[in-house]
Symmetry: C2
Subunit: 375 residues, 2 copies
């Protein structure tokens, strides 16, 4: 069996390991929290800091191939491992570009990838020099995650909300659709694209943390989306799974917002809705097998199961039995013992044939489940 | 999270644990072999003997609900656990009936379940008293497994092949079809049936260890199959998954061959081909959730991946990359480090729309993969 390591032990690691059990692979996971979602599903769990050079190096030397499920990892160590002949997916050079949002934007600019225009601001003081560019989006260069490190600055009164660190000041796009395109690249450069997914923000149905696949976009926009995805993946020049978030404006122009070089929240639905899931696909890439088919079996909706506001403590999944009584509804709980407001605790995939059914079933699902703390 | 225990750590346990990771459950596995397929996929692995009273009792006292993935377990200990208020699925009383083939047959007779006629033979000497019943099938009462403990006695010259222990001498059925029906029974007695699966023995295509779903049987036979399945599951009177092997003769009569009170090899295809897999279904039963839908998404073929003759040692999956290049072919490797001739090393599920396509694709699959020992 091939020895394979994953840096990070969250839900993405968990789902990678569920899939690994179908293939001849011996799994290693490194993560600080020994109670993390992936800890009990691997052959070898290593309690360690994925940002520490020595720890990542020692971990990587035990395995033949290594990947990430989080981006805050020690890229220097991964570069050393690559030089020592280990297969690292994605390439450390790509992680280095993506880890820093300023480098990532500069990469888009240098490679002709359409992305909202930007200037670099070095401090809060420097930000004031660019106030004529407002309204704009301010994004911290390093350390942002899951919505943190991004601030919309509508006008001068908001300037104090900006970051006093190297950051991007980006043109605000008038968003018509927000989508995610997942591209899988094999070790030989072969490439397959999943159908893009659409993020739904429906205030009437209160549908946040909700996505639909396939995205509702015109064939013309689809061509641009796919062309940009292929161009970006080629420019990165690395094997791996790349989740590319794109913004589509009212003119039908397509802008790359950001890229994750790993399996991604926007690909959870591929477990049930596509022939090859993103998780199986990453194993195929890591183990040198042929890429799988990305064909869609059914349309799908995905709802993130988020810790309810006001609830911190031992997690209870109130209403889970109601979801399990619904046909074509697939529940994924991540096994985190503690819930807190806004924490990703699981997700629900709904299969269906048409958009309206999926939207309404999604509303039902949201109404029936709540992750709360045990009293 | 509910604490749940599994006795046995083979591939059935492995697939149960892959599915458990979608639900709020903390998993315990007990098995003698610490390198077994399920050992690394549970929260708590206990190296122990599932046939030992004290060990099973101590194991069971750690959890709230307990199930089996093999039948050679200590039923006395499970009865004690049940009396102590643990939920045991299936009920120990059912395991006791099924563990001994003589008791199992007597149960069928007492409950009006059609099953081939039989006499009990207490020794090889006693077998000679019944030689007028040949040709017949001789089955050892306890300890048979996976084809062992069953002997076809065509004529008197074969009598010496019989078992010198309590055994059944059964009428030999002229088999037209051999099928398996999986019935799921919830804690409240609610019941759902999977579409029956057909075992294929095609000497022309060399298709052994091969099954198709749905089985090719007439509506009239289907009614009998389902009626017998429901009657048997009701008579057993226990929650759980029951895989009922049935023989259909040339007159369209249906005979129960034997029942397994657990997830079963003949249900592997439900992972991809049905809305709710047998593994998810067992968790729903154990955790007190509603039963899931057994509806078929697509027709399927299942091929067992068996250790090649003449090969013992570290397993290599020769040709696995060819299977992964085929569309609608799903590979499951059980992670056993050692192969030996005839050992179950994995399975392949093929999805398709018609029987002929599935048969021919099955032939291709069989030709391309071989589990051998590394040189």
């Amino acid at each position: 069996m091939v020895k394979a390591g994953i840096l990070g032990g969250g839900q993405l690691g968990r789902m990678l390991l569920q899939e690994a059990a179908n293939l001849p692979v011996e799994t290693y996971v490194m993560e600080l929290d020994a109670d993390c979602p992936a800890a009990h599903l691997c052959h070898h769990f290593v309690e360690g800091n994925t940002r520490n050079y020595d720890e990542v190096l020692a971990f990587g030397r035990q395995v033949e191939v290594i990947t990430i499920e989080i981006e805050s990892v020690n890229v220097d160590a991964l570069e050393t491992l690559e030089q020592e002949g280990k297969k690292v997916v994605p390439a450390p050079s790509v992680m280095r570009i993506i880890q820093n949002k300023i480098r990532q934007k500069q990469f888009y600019r240098e490679n002709g990838i359409p992305s909202p225009d930007f200037v670099v601001t070095h401090s809060l003081q420097d930000l004031h020099n660019h106030k004529h560019l407002l309204p704009a989006v301010h994004k911290i260069g390093e350390g942002g995650y899951d919505g943190r490190g991004v601030q919309i600055l509508e006008s001068e009164e908001h300037l104090h909300l900006g970051f006093d660190a190297p950051a991007l000041l980006e043109t605000k796009v008038d968003i018509f659709r927000e989508i995610s395109l997942i591209v899988a690249v094999g070790s030989g450069g072969e490439m397959v694209l999943y159908p893009p997914v659409e993020m739904v923000f429906d205030p009437y149905l209160n549908l946040l943390d909700y996505q639909l696949c396939p995205a509702d976009i015109s064939p013309q926009v689809m061509w641009k989306v796919e062309a940009i995805g292929v161009k970006l993946a080629k420019a990165l020049g690395s094997a791996g799974i790349f989740a590319i978030e794109m913004l589509i404006d009212n003119d039908g122009d397509v802008w790359v917002n950001e890229t994750a070089p790993r399996v991604h929240n926007s690909g959870h639905h591929t477990i049930e809705a596509h022939i090859t899931s993103q998780y199986e696909m990453l194993w195929r890439i890591m183990l040198g097998y042929p890429l799988g088919s990305t064909a869609l079996l059914q349309s799908s909706a995905l709802i993130n199961l988020i810790g309810a506001p006001g609830h911190s403590g031992d997690a209870a999944y109130i209403g889970i039995e109601k979801l399990l009584a619904m046909e074509n509804v697939y529940v994924h709980v991540y096994g985190k013992s503690q819930t807190k407001p806004g924490r990703k605790m699981g997700h629900i995939t709904i299969l269906g044939s048409d958009r309206l059914t999926l939207l309404l079933k999604g509303k039902q699902v949201k109404e029936q489940i709540s992750v709360q703390a045990k009293p």
